[in-house]
Symmetry: D2
């Protein structure tokens, strides 16, 4: 009898329907099917490995995930330290703040009469609606808060910590910003100017001169220092965008100052974009390896799917499968309350990269 | 206080992580989030309604679902009469037959050395591998079987019933073709010539003259008669392709001969294509309403997702939520064993549309 | 000075704007840029090479290209023998027939009120409208014609030749069907049952018993014989779908009967689908090489683009760059008027594959 | 005879092949076909109208357009004032700087051995390669330049003007940055921190304390002031990303301070993303109308295409069709050389929005 080819080792096992499956079991069965279903199951496995290993886990989020109902999943990931550092677009933090302040987004439809919406002051995000008046109220609330700060530059990390604290004090409600504040998990927002938080900050200048200065270059320094300090890292990316590149860039930047750094050890991304058009959001993790953003032997997987479809299943499964691992995890302890961030009690140098090791 | 806009009625409820959620509960929570996650949850609701209503449910499948590990989900849907009629591409039936005959598809990778695969006789479907030798064996097995049939035309529906029967007798194994055979659920394959089953049929002609004739136009007549006989119908489409249009066309065709027909009453589709390029696979269900393929008041939803990711979750949830409904369902009883198909004991006219009602 | 890497040989040349560029020059400049722009330029080069080489060129078309305004480009390709054999979906031939009969499709919009369209009998294809009444007239016209044919099976190739002839006689107008008729270029339509031409054929049975039989398995035999007779082939695919696989399958089938056949020597495809979901429409040409559908050393290129955007530019350029080549080309001479097709005067065996060579 | 439906007014005119067509004529013919081909033709028409009207035209660019060979098209658009203000990702400016400094990107392939690339210090952008050593050289060059600046915050607009000037002085070569410098066209880069320019700025701090401070909130103020000063605006977006939202946000922000502002009067976008996943890059222009980012009666069009494919054709056509219009255009005259920007000789207020009108 002919020997089986080396390419034909592990058979596909057709998924068998069983009404009693938990999310964890569902994904375990999906490891043996194909295409993006298999990739989601692999993402589950890769994330478990990250948690078991001694790595700093970055989470990037882009796309309208907060408006779209995923903000408490992200808050859960932060509060329970499935991740150690969040890099987000401004919009996701803004829509989080909107709900934490007690407002809502609403179920809408994908092809309404947008002129009618405009007339009623309704802002649309695909199939989701919100009140423009409430948004204007948020902007003003942010401006008022920013105007209470000192007339100096704040990194987005420091500013967002303070904003999360103010939000927690005012509302006592769960959300991304408040969870990060309470768990001392740093948030970076490299494109803060491209969001309504940025608009609020710009309006602060009308209230008090010298306010509303964000030191985004300082964020580059700090994020790289995080990696210089502990060179073993992992990357979880939702949606691509500026967070995806910022997380990768931090590793590349850190490598200039420490030869211990060799790219992320694990990477998983859930993106709807594809690589064929050259943009960063859809770029492959293989491509990231050419740059050294990702170690060439890293475990990695890309899932081409809408995060609103993939993340609830993935994190529900992880909550079940990774419980014990999480309990045993010893994540870095951050002090992020001031201009200079500290890790496990040891501060970074001010406005400079850590010394070359 | 200002009255809430009519557009702002039902708040998004951020998904809360709970490790104990069943698939059913997971989708129930996803009804209150946004984008494709919400759409998948809506698909769950729409399918439940189909099952509760007095409708004939068509299932269309295109894309490499059988090779990709979803064939036993489809077999489950057929055996338990979540659906009443399958319209499939030839490839999905062929890859089903391959596994039912005891062969496998295998876990592979997405960017292998394809020249090396070719040299070893490995055929690739994205990240899934199979043995070309085994495929050639299947083709021959199909040709041998087809050469045993009478030298006349068979509709794809009749041929596939006989093929399923032969497969069941030979193997006693579960699969799409065998499940449909055992449950007397008709399968139509309008593009049978565009598949390895077609190749097997073409090879039958080398074995016995006059064999391998498939009456695909007869399939049009029969599928329309199904709808003329019971004008209330529903459509579940996976992946688009020829099955999607064939199911819609049956309704349009039936309408020529019966004014009781008014388009499908329910429609759900899980597709990766989008409407913006004009192709039928990605076309919207709203567009289908312009043609009368779908009733203008039909409940409908499109999920833009890979079926390997969406279907395991959806059907697991449905197995739990629709159990009682299925038990009470009184689906049509088909006789599909001969040239003329019968419904609930009453045969269709031969090779003609039913009389105008 | 450090030697340049072997990976850094040919610089990108930024595209320079010049208002006087012809389409041909435009694509020549695009050979030195990136992504899908470069791929379209490469497609231009690959098609030129096909025309210079001694190969039979198959053209596959799927998606709403005829309704969308590309039918006279395809007619031009046929009439001037840029291609030697067309494989099409039924819809593209039907919408071609619609216009050749003097009707039109109309500029519409992408998000109209589809209920209002349905009420007025307007059928929509994304942003394009047509009259349902006129469509019903076409179906009847096709049925009338089919009812004049002998009560026997016709391959789609034979039937479409006769249909093209009838259309030419009735209208004298240019189009795909009439161009193919006049140029004796065979058209295969493996999924004819999944189209309004199929609907017309099914209605023919109401007019005259024994009509409307299409031998799609015979099409498999004939298309493979075409390749057995002249094993050097090329494939141009627009939109994927059944034509893409049918063209590839013909080569695989032919290989069973002739060891001269080794997959297409050239391949270009313009598709909007991507490979990541496993479907055939988006599948890569590398994947096709694993199956032997494409020679492992074939020149090939995939362009991820809407054909309505890519094809006008590509064929305009080709009309300019390939003029002389076309004049010198000595394409196969087909006789496709009867049940048995002949190439350069030598008929194929009837309903059988050519003898193994 | 039955009256034609109001929905069936303008027939599709099948594109006729003519080797002598100019780019302009090609697009004119494409106005009468369907799908994305028609949309590109409409984009041509909409851009012409922008140029004829009295509006400030913003151009947004995201995706790897500079690396991908489109930077001299953008430079041409700036130099000839087809646009009045550029909003870009940092990467596009960085890759522009790379080539202006005399380096190159290189033709590569889409599925190379990325580990081999990493070993040779080659960075990949899909099918395009570049030297990491040269990139490191750029970063250092940027850091050196930034360290020569005063120890204060610079808006990205001021910094990029100075960078463009330094680049022009050093090289005398054409490019985006140098063209904008010479034409006094402002460039905003809201996510400068997410790019290698940001990395260079962060390294400046190692060279001279107090350098590398970018005031991205100041960019919000300035971009809104641009619109307050002249409320009639238009938006051309390539690829989505932060530039797309920043351009829209400027209009929304300006509206707080002037009731003359009512959203962009024209908008065209060329994007590969689609709206169905809720992200901003793919979001529809109709959705933008709900927010007031776009006037509800604006002329607008979305082209779903890779810019490398669409832009060369579009701008070549525009160069021919809009020549006279451009000659007659009286664009705003900017002074962008210092901390406070001036328009037509009149400066903006410092770090504040213009007074409410």
């Amino acid at each position: 009898m002919k020997k089986k080819s080396r390419f034909l080792q592990t058979p596909i096992e057709p998924f068998r329907v069983d009404r009693a499956l938990t999310a964890d079991q569902l994904l375990t069965r999906m490891e043996r099917i194909s295409f993006q279903g298999r990739n989601l199951a692999t993402a589950h496995r890769v994330w478990q490995k990250m948690l078991q290993d001694d790595v700093t886990i970055f989470l990037g989020m882009a796309g309208a995930l907060s408006a779209g109902g995923l903000r408490l999943i992200v808050a859960h990931l932060i509060a329970n330290r499935y991740v150690d550092c969040l890099v987000s677009t401004g919009a996701n933090l803004y829509h989080d703040l909107h709900e934490t302040r007690g407002h809502h987004h609403y179920l809408g439809t994908a092809h309404p009469n947008d002129a009618a919406l405009a007339e009623e002051g309704i802002d649309r995000v695909y199939d989701t609606f919100a009140s423009e008046d409430e948004f204007i109220g948020n902007d003003n609330w942010i401006a008022d808060f920013a105007a209470t700060l000192e007339a100096r530059s704040y990194t987005s990390r420091e500013f967002l910590y303070l904003l999360g604290g103010h939000l927690w004090t005012s509302t006592g409600r769960d959300g991304i910003l408040t969870a990060a504040y309470r768990a001392n998990v740093p948030i970076f927002c490299p494109a803060l100017a491209d969001s309504s938080i940025g608009m609020g900050l710009s309006q602060a200048r009308m209230k008090k001169s010298g306010t509303g200065y964000i030191d985004i270059i300082g964020d580059i320094v700090e994020s790289a220092n995080l990696i210089i300090r502990r060179p073993r890292t992992a990357s979880v990316v939702l949606g691509g965008g500026t967070p995806k590149n910022f997380i990768n860039q931090a590793s590349v930047q850190a490598e200039f100052y420490s030869d211990q750094v060799g790219g992320h050890r694990y990477a998983l991304q859930i993106v709807t974009d594809v690589p064929q058009f050259g943009g960063a959001s859809g770029s492959s993790l293989e491509e990231a390896q050419s740059w050294g953003k990702l170690a060439t032997d890293a475990e990695q997987v890309t899932v081409h799917a809408d995060a609103t479809l993939a993340l609830p299943l993935l994190v529900t499964a992880l909550a079940s499968s990774a419980g014990e691992t999480l309990a045993n995890r010893k994540p870095l302890r951050f002090d992020i309350s001031g201009p200079v961030m500290a890790v496990n009690g040891r501060p970074f140098p001010q406005a400079r990269f850590e010394a070359r090791t």
